[in-house]
């Protein structure tokens, strides 16, 4: 018999004894506030993914990978631009410490973060108008000396905060090390030119052919600007202190690359070239030498094996693929020849300390080798040229003396990039310089506004570890490989060696991200909760809401959270969430309470007359 159309009188409608609304219904959870069953409260607490922590400029990598995964490329590009002024450049040249730190690397293969960054950077390059806008002008003028990665980054961040920024660059073209230290087949010049256009669009004035100490003095900077960022870099190449280093045909790594990059190179290499050094610049020099017409290129390093070399292993692999010979455990002690390089004298050598750049022990008693070459390129590091700087701001390493905020004493001068990082423990890489420039820009802003400077500190337990995540949800999946040009043909051209991701590849690769310790709105907690305790007003990162009055603390969501962003926090740590119930289930004293009252008074009442 159907009850359809049956009239239910008002007084019989729920709730009444026995029929109560389900917890999914309105008011249903008010009747049974079982939140006080809970000893552990689930809390969404985002942690720091290791990639973000390892990145020199702390890009929000998890954030943009997540956005790429969802197809929101422009949002992803805007997010990356918060910390990184030129993702199209770092997407090509970065030594990707993020990928080394990636938790996925301990599981199957690290995410190809750099390739996704390059995808976003190229997307940004194609935009007619950049997403970044200059800040509201605050009337302050800042000079940035040097337009390399650190100067570029500092100028960019300052312009976003509303400063009137002028970049002073001593070379004929801006770009610094990005232009002069990175060959065309890694970073095409037009990409960099476009990024520098973006700076000009932000209202930054770039003055080329202006050298501090020659065209502008320290006092000029002090007088004409409210503050100044010195990002002059290390410009002078180190010598190996070998005999005959002044002979014709001896080249130095960075000037060699710089002249080619600036288009002012007059070098004509012979068929046999030796490269001295084992770092990234040495590798770039060796590969560039092939492209400049050398036939046999030999790299000579002091390091005993490839593992000790202070370079990116991928670049080393690509170099060997192109046919560069690699010799270990030797040092060049003399350049032989009559006015021009004819051969090198090599002695066995090793580092006397455990680390690179420690003094070299050369075994001069051993029989020297003679190695015939037409040219030798020496790439064993750089040092600063700071004759214009007041002596009080120089330190014993020959760089600028700064406090931990990048400031020179009590002045409004700040320094960033290689000029302060040399010997400070960080590798001298583009991304570290960018991060340095960014931090210095924010510190400069604080000083100008008269705020106290605070060091950046991260508690170590906040960095998410693989063991704290639920790997059940992540099937093994190989990394998407970037395409490469054939080593035989590429070594004769200036074409870009590593190919870009297509859109599908970028989305696929971003989809591999574990989102370590950070909510990526995967909906898993919402699905596994055995009760309707998790509300989802909008599907977005970190916007789930746990109904604390009803959650019984069963921990299922915490155990099942794939990313580990849900944490169980002892309930007693919270002052909130106090609900006083009268019995286990009811908010009012129920039937049994009344019954017991009657039973208690039983003896005082007269027996019933039956």
């Amino acid at each position: 018999m159907s009850t359809k159309g049956t009239h239910i009188p008002e007084w019989l409608k729920v709730p009444f004894a026995g029929i109560t609304p389900a917890p999914t219904q309105e008011k249903g959870q008010d009747l049974f506030p079982t939140g006080n069953w809970r000893a552990i409260r689930p809390v969404y607490r985002d942690k720091l993914p290791p990639c973000n922590n390892a990145c020199g400029t702390n890009e929000k990598i998890q954030g943009y990978l997540d956005l790429v995964k969802r197809g929101k490329y422009l949002d992803a590009y805007a997010l990356i631009k918060e910390d990184m002024p030129f993702p199209s450049v770092t997407g090509r040249v970065c030594y990707h410490p993020c990928e080394q730190a990636c938790n996925r690397g301990k599981y199957d293969e690290a995410i190809s973060i750099r390739a996704v960054e390059r995808f976003l950077g190229d997307l940004g390059q194609a935009l007619k108008k950049d997403v970044v806008t200059p800040g509201k002008p605050n009337g302050k003028k800042v000079a940035v000396v040097g337009s390399g990665p650190a100067g570029h980054s500092a100028a960019y961040q300052l312009a976003r905060m509303g400063y009137k920024v002028t970049i002073l660059e001593k070379s004929p073209k801006p770009g610094g090390l990005n232009r002069g230290g990175i060959p065309d087949w890694v970073l095409p010049q037009d990409i960099l030119d476009r990024e520098i256009e973006r700076l000009v669009e932000l209202g930054i004035e770039i003055k080329c052919n202006v050298e501090v100490g020659k065209d502008v003095s320290w006092d000029d900077l002090k007088k004409n600007y409210d503050a100044c960022v010195l990002a002059v870099g290390l410009t002078e190449p180190n010598s190996v202190r070998a005999e005959g280093e002044n002979k014709q045909g001896v080249l130095y790594g960075l000037p060699f690359l710089r002249d080619i990059g600036m288009g002012t190179s007059k070098v004509k290499l012979g068929p046999r070239v030796a490269v001295i050094g084992g770092g990234n610049t040495a590798i770039d020099c060796a590969r560039e030498a092939l492209r400049q017409g050398a036939v046999e290129v030999t790299m000579i390093t002091v390091e005993a094996n490839t593992k000790e070399m202070p370079c990116s292993p991928e670049d080393l692999h690509d170099m060997l693929e192109e046919g560069v010979d690699l010799w270990h455990g030797r040092a060049m002690t003399a350049v032989l020849g009559n006015g021009k390089v004819e051969s090198l004298q090599l002695h066995p050598a090793r580092f006397s300390g455990a680390i690179n750049a420690s003094p070299i022990n050369i075994d001069r008693d051993a029989k020297p080798e003679e190695f015939a070459v037409d040219n030798v390129i020496i790439a064993v590091g750089q040092h600063a040229s700071l004759a214009w700087l007041p002596a009080e701001f120089k330190n014993e390493r020959g760089t600028i003396k700064i406090d931990r905020f990048g400031r020179l004493g009590d002045t409004n001068f700040f320094a960033a990039g290689d000029i302060v990082q040399l010997g400070a423990g960080q590798p001298l890489m583009v991304v570290n310089a960018v991060g340095d420039g960014k931090r210095v820009a924010f510190n400069l802003d604080k000083v100008i506004r008269g705020e106290a400077l605070q060091p950046r500190t991260i508690a170590i337990d906040v960095i998410m570890d693989l063991n704290r995540m639920n790997m059940t949800y992540f099937p093994h999946f190989p990394r998407v490989q970037q395409g490469m040009l054939n080593p035989v043909t590429r070594k004769k051209t200036q074409d870009e060696v590593i190919q870009a991701f297509t859109e599908e590849q970028a989305v696929e690769e971003a989809g591999r991200c574990f989102s370590c310790g950070t909510c990526n709105a995967c909906d898993n907690c919402y699905l596994v909760c055995p009760e309707p305790c998790i509300a989802r007003p909008a599907r977005s990162n970190g916007l789930y809401k746990i109904l604390i009055d009803y959650c019984k603390g069963c921990r299922v969501c915490i155990e099942e959270c794939p990313t580990g962003c849900l944490e169980g926090v002892p309930e007693l740590d919270f002052d909130t969430g106090v609900i006083r119930m009268d019995t286990a289930f009811a908010i009012t004293q129920g039937l049994h309470g009344r019954q017991s009252e009657e039973l208690r008074n039983l003896a005082e009442r007269p027996a019933k007359n039956i």
């Binding site: 069953w37 552990i40 007693l572 286990a584 129920g590 049994h592 019954q595 017991s596 039973l599």
Partner: protein
């Protein structure tokens, strides 16, 4: 003539035995001492549900218990919370006459816990004992997966361990007996399985004296 009510609030299944051990051992000791005593569990609270709050009752009297058919303790003199978080959830102080005692299993001190206690002016003392640390390390990390494994919703009928107070009940019994003198220490101690935790609790409990009431 003295009449005392003891109410234990505990969690269904995972800490059911602990609560039961407290009321059973106290009433058994009282009978040995020649008192009239009674211990029972509350079935209204649905104790066969994991984590559900459950009450256990115990009554002691020098004379015959007049209210032995009453199902709940209406005026508990002593309240024990076997799990510390329960301090936030219920009106366990309901019906407590002035001069009562509240014993909580927690690693916090009474200074912190007093903020959660409703009607604390009725207490003569607030006792906190870190039973989890004293008894067994598995109780430190309150995980259902580990605690609930050998616990069945059979009200103790199918329990494997026949021991009395092998775990966190032992320090809680010690705290109750030491601070209230409800039964004699020498009567109850031989019943307790976890003697080590029992004795450690005697020295390591935190007592916060509150308003004294003439009984």
């Amino acid at each position: 003539m003295s009449y005392t009510e003891l109410t234990v609030w505990t969690r269904g299944i995972v800490m059911d035995k602990e609560g039961r051990d407290i009321v059973n051992s106290v009433s058994a000791s009282a009978r040995k001492e020649g008192k009239y005593a009674q211990a029972m569990e509350n079935y209204v609270d649905n104790p066969d549900r994991t984590n559900a709050p459950t009450r256990k009752y115990c009554r002691l009297s020098d004379t015959v218990l007049e209210n032995e058919l009453t199902y709940e303790n209406e005026h508990p003199n002593i309240v024990v919370l076997v799990e510390g978080t329960m301090v936030k959830g219920w009106d366990y102080m309901r019906g407590m006459p002035p001069g009562g005692t509240l014993v909580i299993n927690t690693h916090y001190t009474p200074d912190y816990m007093i903020r959660f206690v409703p009607g604390a002016e009725r207490l003569s003392q607030l006792v906190c004992v870190d039973a989890a640390r004293l008894a067994h390390h598995k109780w430190l990390y309150y995980r259902l997966g580990e605690l609930g494994l050998d616990r069945l919703s059979t009200e103790g009928a199918a329990e494997r361990s026949k021991l009395v107070a092998p775990d966190i009940a032992a320090p809680l019994i010690a705290a109750v007996v030491k601070t209230t003198g409800i039964v004699k220490m020498e009567t109850i101690k031989p019943m307790i399985a976890n003697k080590n935790a029992f004795e450690m609790a005697l020295t390591e409990l935190h007592v916060m004296p509150l308003s004294k009431v003439a009984v």
